[in-house]
Each structure stands twice: as structure tokens, then as C-alpha cells.
Symmetry: C2
Subunit: 408 residues, 2 copies
Amino acid sequence: MSASVSESNFEWLSRGTSEIFPNQPNSEDADENLIQRILKSDRHLRIKLGIDPTGTDIHLGHSIPFRKLRAFQDAGHTAVVIIGDFTAQIGDPTGKSEVRRQLTTEEVKQNAQTYLEQLRPILDFDTPDRLEIRYNSEWLGKLNLVQIQELLATMTVGQMLAKEGFAERYSQEKPIFLHEFLYPLMQGYDSVAVEADVELGGTDQKFNIAVGRDLQRHFGKRTQFGLLLPILLGTDGTQKMSKSLNNYVGLREDALSMYSKLEKTPDNLLKDYFELLTNLDLNQLPDNPRECQKLLAIEVVSQFHGLEAAKDAQKTAEQIVLQGNTTIGDSVPEYSLSQVEFPAKLFYILGASGLCQSSGEGRRQIQGGAVRLEGDRISDVNLTFNAAEELTGKVLQVGKKKFIRLID
Amino acid sequence: MSASVSESNFEWLSRGTSEIFPNQPNSEDADENLIQRILKSDRHLRIKLGIDPTGTDIHLGHSIPFRKLRAFQDAGHTAVVIIGDFTAQIGDPTGKSEVRRQLTTEEVKQNAQTYLEQLRPILDFDTPDRLEIRYNSEWLGKLNLVQIQELLATMTVGQMLAKEGFAERYSQEKPIFLHEFLYPLMQGYDSVAVEADVELGGTDQKFNIAVGRDLQRHFGKRTQFGLLLPILLGTDGTQKMSKSLNNYVGLREDALSMYSKLEKTPDNLLKDYFELLTNLDLNQLPDNPRECQKLLAIEVVSQFHGLEAAKDAQKTAEQIVLQGNTTIGDSVPEYSLSQVEFPAKLFYILGASGLCQSSGEGRRQIQGGAVRLEGDRISDVNLTFNAAEELTGKVLQVGKKKFIRLID
């Protein structure tokens, strides 16, 4: 039958997907499943993904839903990225959380741009009609008390308290402030406003996405599907990837740093990482786990820095290993730039860091073409840096065997 | 001491008052009590009382807080009557309650006028600066999501669920819709907006009035006192006065009807009724319970219809009793106007109702000056009514012994 033929074309949809709901056509809740909606629809579907612009440092864990969003784009659909600027500007009015301080409109805009810039390698920004970027203040800022009341009236206290997180806090008698009940409704109302067909999110977003369905139904709109993606484990192989646990690979890291971390991916994570972070055929992976690690690292680094830089990083990492006096990755020797007075010439830093025996030797090594910064050969003997930030996190190299990573 | 001298002047404040809170100066919650606030303040206090303009039929139970409001007016303070038009216009968005259907602006305005008109005998409408009538849509209609969120953030779910009514429903697993949490906050925000010093309400209003205090504190305003008044029992002496229980005395009832009901006030209610519904000295009441009933009835009827009408009603009621073929009060014979085709002449109704033997006799009785409507002598033989509403509830009388009440 044609349906099964068609469905075989939807591997991209199920790859790395934890759950799509509702998934039973003709159930009480749905008259079609997502594939049927895609096949029957005479237009591009609208695929919603919300981001929180309070932070700007994003890592591979954040990239997962964006990779799925790209898969939808490649299938001809429209990615609708929602910047939660309204929520971010509210801050936490209880003042209990320092993290959620109130941001200015300008900060939110800036954060959102920084956030999206890092996703440029993943998302299709250029094909017409494939990407819509919306700020939710556009519609949330216009709501008045009558409308907010209508939103609140769609749910009961019992339903809200059943939500993961609330349930635990309530049973532990930890205070839940009333405004916290607004957040799922605001996220849900975003789906009404942008007329989402699908909302992407981590498995922890099921409740909020379901609220979006309820609100769409309440306002007489077609209801969205939820597509849930797993939470990515960090490079330690045990906990959720997170900056604070230092088990992450940031999207802004240089090629060598990314490569070095990914090359050590624990065996138990390899299959998940391939499935979630690459488009490689999972049946065609090398048998040798070491080869798998390298392939994964090359694949992922290529997405952000290009294949050549990935291969260079691989080469560099191997040289470091060969050199024997140091190991790869995180343990590249570090030199703190706090000891340097800026502006500073590069040859001075070469001497001060001990990479060369003196500034004079540093100068000669640059002239001899032996100095690289982030893999790029430096030829300007007088190259000067105005601030530590210009160098922080970068790898400085003399010849083929001597490396340091410059840190704060 | 002067304080005790001063406090002896505040009998009007404590008369019929269930509770004033906070009442302990120097407690955590207050740096003064209400009498101190009154004595220290260099301006009139602002005394808030909110009314719900979804209904217009009000009875003596509703008059209690207005009588207290009048006492404040007489002491020089400003009554701030808040018409809850915003809430009324919201209706019940769950659609579960037919009673709370959404009202139009015009209906709300009309209802509020009808409501207040009935209070004209109680409240001082005329002395300058003694009465402010405010519609809460003035401030609630302007709130946006950021501000509503700030209101919600002042309270926790636990605090709200502790409220009488919510607590029971939650424990019985009856649904509580989220928007219901808004109502106490809206009422509380009214206190912020009008800068209330005191809010009056029934004993069931303690929670809402306390929310008003919290919100005033949150917004950096001086906090209000709550003055709680008892819920008036109905003329049956057992249950809360209520139209649906038919144990009420409506403020729009004619003098005879009011008199007849009040004259039967059960002994156990007499003291409360005197305290709450009159200004009589409770130590000077007659010993004879029958005399007490009559005095109460005369006193209350006088407030709404004047002393002369009260005395006429008393006389009429006594005649009805003497006449023997009927009893007083509720059991004045009734005649349903549904049997009459309008427009209709009064002499026709006299005949049709059996009050006269024919229309012709009706005409003659009018000419002879023996016909009264609501106690007013009718001299226009051709007096015509266009609709039953003009007559509903009124007492039609021929001579001194024959009465009927005209009903729907």
C-alpha cells in the first residue's frame, strides 16, 4: 500500500525521537497521526520550537531539537523559532531566584541573536519560507485581564498540580507561587498564536506541549502534535549534559577542543550520540570502538567548523598524543592570561607562557613560520592583542609538538 | 486618660461589628489599631465596600455593611463604593454557572444604579466628600500580563487553597479552575487602587480583605483594616437571609409588606435585628416582646418609607388582623396580573380581581376616593397601566378593610 511506502520515507522523523503524541489516529484525542497530517496537508506544516533567551552559552544538548527542526525544514516545512522574550523580561517577581533576573529588551534581543548565531551551522536560515523567528512579546504583551482569565479558566488546580515538578513540590510543602501556573499557559498560547502543527521539545516538555494542544482546541484551532526528544547525556556518560557539570561540548568551542572531548565519548553513549548528533547510517558504523569515537568526533566537528578543520583537529590531537608528554583534549597544558598585561604582542606571550624560552625566541619562531594559533599559521611578527578575551580558550602551538591552551 | 475618653465615642464603630482586624497595635502586623488610625489621621479615612452588580434585588442582609458605611460617613469619613463591573463583565468563562453569565457594560451600569437607588435611604449621597462611587474596570481593565503576574506572584498555591471554600472543594476533589484564584487578587487590588483605610464585608470576606492588605503592602501603600459584619439571619430565624429561601425583607418592598414581615420577627432574632438594623439604644427597648416586634418594624420601615408610611402600614396590618378573615403580612390575598390584558384601566382591575363586584363599582369607588394603590389615594378614574410590571408587588386597597397584592 502507498501508506507504507510513504511511511518508509519518514525515517528522518523517527530518528532519535522519544515520542510523538498523539500517535493513534481515531483515538479520542486525534483524527490523524503526524505522518497522515504531513501527507494530507496541502501546505507546509509549521514546526514550533521555543528558546529561552536568558542564556547564550549553548551546547550539543541544545542542538538536538534544532537538528530535528532542520530535518523538518529539509522536508519542506517551516521552522517557527519562538524567542521567549516576554517571559525573560518578566524575570522572577518573587525575587527568589537570582538566575532569573529581569532582562532589558536590548539584552534579550542580543542574547537571542547570539543564541541563534551558534545554530547557523545547523538550521537552514537561507531557503525562503523555511524559517520564521518570532518574539512572543508580540502576542503575550497584548493580553489583558479578561483574556488571561480565559486562559486560566481552561485548567484546574488539580491538573496543574499533577505536573511533574509541581507535584513533588506540593507534596513536600514547598511554596509554589501562583504566577508559576502562568508559564505553561503562556507557552501554550504561543502555539495558538503561531498556529503550530508540531511542537518540538525535550521529554520534560510533554505537559507544556499538551497545554498548547488544549489551548488551540479552546480557541478553535487545529491542534499540534508534540515531538519529544531525549535529554542528551554529557561526555561523562552518566548525567544530563550541562555547563555546570562540565560534561558538555559547547557550540562555540574551537575544533580541537570539540574534537578532543568527542574523541573520548564513552562506549555506552556512542550509539545515542551518532543517532542524535549525526545523520550517519547507524548500520554502517565501524566495528572498532576507537574508530567509532574518531568518526563521531570528525562528523560533529565538521558540522560546526567544516571537514578540513575537523581533520586538522584530529591531526593535532594525534600529535599531542604522540608527543607523549601530555594527553589529548582537556589536559592540553593551560596558561592563564591573567598574568599578561594587555595590549600584548604574541611573541611576548610565547615567552611568558614558557612555550618559547624567551620573547626573542618567540619572535624568531613566528618569523620561521612555526607558530600557529587555533591551527592558523601566524606570520605577523608584531601581532598584538588588546584584551585577554581575544585569546581565551584558543590553542597556541609552536612546531608540531608544543601546545598550550590560553585561559582566563 | 484621653484615649479612653476618645474610645468611648466609638460605640458606633463597634455596634454590630463581628471583628476588626488587625486589632492589636504593636503586633507584627500593625503599628496601630483602627481607632488610633482614626484619631491620628489628619484626613478623612477611606472606607471601601464592594458590590456585585450581577443582581439587583437586595434585602436587609445587604443593607448591614451599608449602615456601617453610613456610620463612617456620619463620623466624617469617605465611603468608597466599588462597583465590581469588571468581574461582572467577565462572567464565568468555564460556562459552568448559568447565574454568572456575561453582562454587557450597559446592563452592569443599569444594575449598579438600581442597586444603589435602593440604598438611597441608608447612604448619605448628598454631603460633599462623603461618597465616592468607583467602577473597578477603571484599573482592572488596564492590567497587562506583567502586572497580573506580579499580583499572582504575591501568593502561593498553598495559601490560596487554605481559603474557606477552596479548601473544602480541593479536599473533596471538586475542580477549582485557575481563574478562580484571580478573584481574591482582583478584590485586593481594588483596595490598592482606591487606597482604602478600611474595608467592610461579611465575616466570609476575611480572606479577601487580608489579601487586600497584602497587596497594599506589596505596592508600598498603607494597609487597610478589615471590619467584618455578621451575616444576617432571615425572618425564619434559622438560615441566612436569602431571596431563594424566601426568608428575606427586600428593600423595594412596600411599607405594608415590610411591616408585616418584621412584625413577626422571632424572639431570638430581635436583639440582633435591633442592633444591626436600627440605631436604637439596646438598653431602652420595651420589655414586652410584642412591643419590641412592633417597634422594630416601625423603625426599619421608617428608614425606607418614612415614619408616616410606617405608621399607616402598622394601622393597616392591625385592621387586617381585626378583620379576621385574613392574617397579616405574607398572606395578604394575591391577584395574578397574568389574567389581565394590558394596557388596562385600574377600575377594570378592581372588578376583575374581585376587590369590587364589577368594573362599574370599581369606577365608583375611585370616584368616591376609597381606592388606594400602595397607600396613595387614586383620584383619576381613567388611570391606565401599560404593563403588568408597573403594578407587580403593589398593594391595591378599597376602603379600610379590603386589600390585595398584585403579583405576576
